[in-house]
Point group: C2
DNA sequence: TGACGCAGCTTTGTATACACTGGGATGGTT
DNA sequence: AACCATCCCAGTGTATACAAAGCTGCGTCA
């Protein structure tokens, strides 16, 4: 693996998992020492992260980890809604119904995955991720998939803002199941509508339970 | 201006305006000599272009200018439709009607801009660009605007595939005028529908008149 | 005659040295 | 005491040298 890719992957993971919190300044020399590579691949990694929107150039001087603010969450979800609704519509037109019937069944039983054993809800989020992947594949649109991929990076970060309580996750699983079923049935309008409703519920839940972003940020300033 | 930005702007312009044709191999040393900067900023520029999708890494060895193929045009327009319809809907909800009434009037008279004096149709495309800008501003969604900006880069390249004959441009201007009017009226569903129809017409026109992409590419291989 | 392998070269990937810019601190002046 | 100018330094921007990896072409062997 190339050094620049290694640096990129390490930084990306650190940012997504909040080991690097919003507002953190990323200095090239410090990073190159910490990651054991020279500044050149570090710069390449930072450029890639900035292109993705995970970091932002700091007024001509250095880069900082992008802020995640509740103020712009509604905008993020408007874009998400536009992309995911269209993806669901296309998937409903073009999919192999068997795949989504299977996902529908699994999602109906997803309540069992939400146990106190795994606070990170790994199994649950993996299943939801499989639905996303299946929708992307069924939609069969490279550009749309790419746009969604870029967006989901930010959504993973946002997840930390809300406290995903078991009740909401079980509701969300049912909503996902409904989306899968609509796609399997090939009912385009229903697939789109179910996605719209699900995203609205998710956004409302996030906004109502989210911890203040500033409190999260402050704790990181050691 | 930084050397990396200069290189990026120069290459981006060369690709968009087909001075660098799809499939062209971009060698770092050759570019650094041609643009008069060292390889480091060239690499930075190429990374940025690849992130945008204007170039693609060539299986471990160098980068090439991305292909523009009719095969994927429908996919590109599916994404475009998803984004522009949502943007039009949001604009219809939130806009200052006066702005779009003005644009509506200007677009109704856009036929006069399509003269044989300017084969590049600069004035026409500038007016259409102003509509795009106004929609972005009215929609007031930073993420959506960014996604559209990324997309429009590809659309400018695609434009070269089709022969924009005056009749089609006049029709397109009327369609744009209709979109502007629907937004000014605040009729969300109409704005979305008018956008859908316009994009479908544009795609069909492109596909029916487009020169074979392969012939375009071949001519570049000197 | 065809295919496999090796050697050389071209091109990319990485490290490092140097240049330049912006900001902050310090000292002087009003 | 407050404000401005200058100097210094931290850190980025660029150039270049070196290392590694892949392709090409030729030669040899089956």
């Amino acid at each position: 693996m190339r050094a620049s890719e290694k640096a990129y992957a390490a930084l990306r993971s650190d940012i997504i998992h909040w080991r690097l919190t919003p507002g953190t300044v990323l200095a090239e020399v410090e990073l190159s020492e910490r990651l054991g590579v020279s500044r050149t691949p570090i710069r390449e990694a930072l450029a890639k992260l900035s292109a993705e929107g995970l970091t932002e150039p700091q007024s001509g001087r250095g880069v900082v980890v992008s802020e995640i603010s509740l103020d712009h969450l509604d905008e993020l979800f408007e874009l998400r809604s536009a992309l995911e609704c269209r993806a669901a519509e296309l998937a409903a037109q073009r999919c192999d119904p068997a795949v989504f019937h299977t996902l529908h069944r699994q999602l109906l039983n997803a309540g069992e995955l939400i146990t106190s054993d795994d606070p990170a809800r790994g199994d649950y989020y993996q299943l939801v991720g499989e639905l996303d992947t299946a929708i992307d594949a069924a939609a069969g649109n490279h550009y749309l998939t790419q746009a969604l991929k870029n967006l989901r990076v930010h959504l993973v970060r946002v997840r930390r803002l809300g406290k995903d309580n078991p009740a909401r996750l079980r509701d969300a699983a049912r909503e996902h199941a409904g989306i899968a079923l609509a796609i399997a049935n090939g009912t385009v309008a229903v697939a789109s509508a179910a996605t719209t409703v699900h995203l609205d519920n998710s956004l409302r839940h996030l906004l109502s339970t989210a911890s203040s972003p500033h409190s999260s940020i402050k704790t990181s300033e050691q």
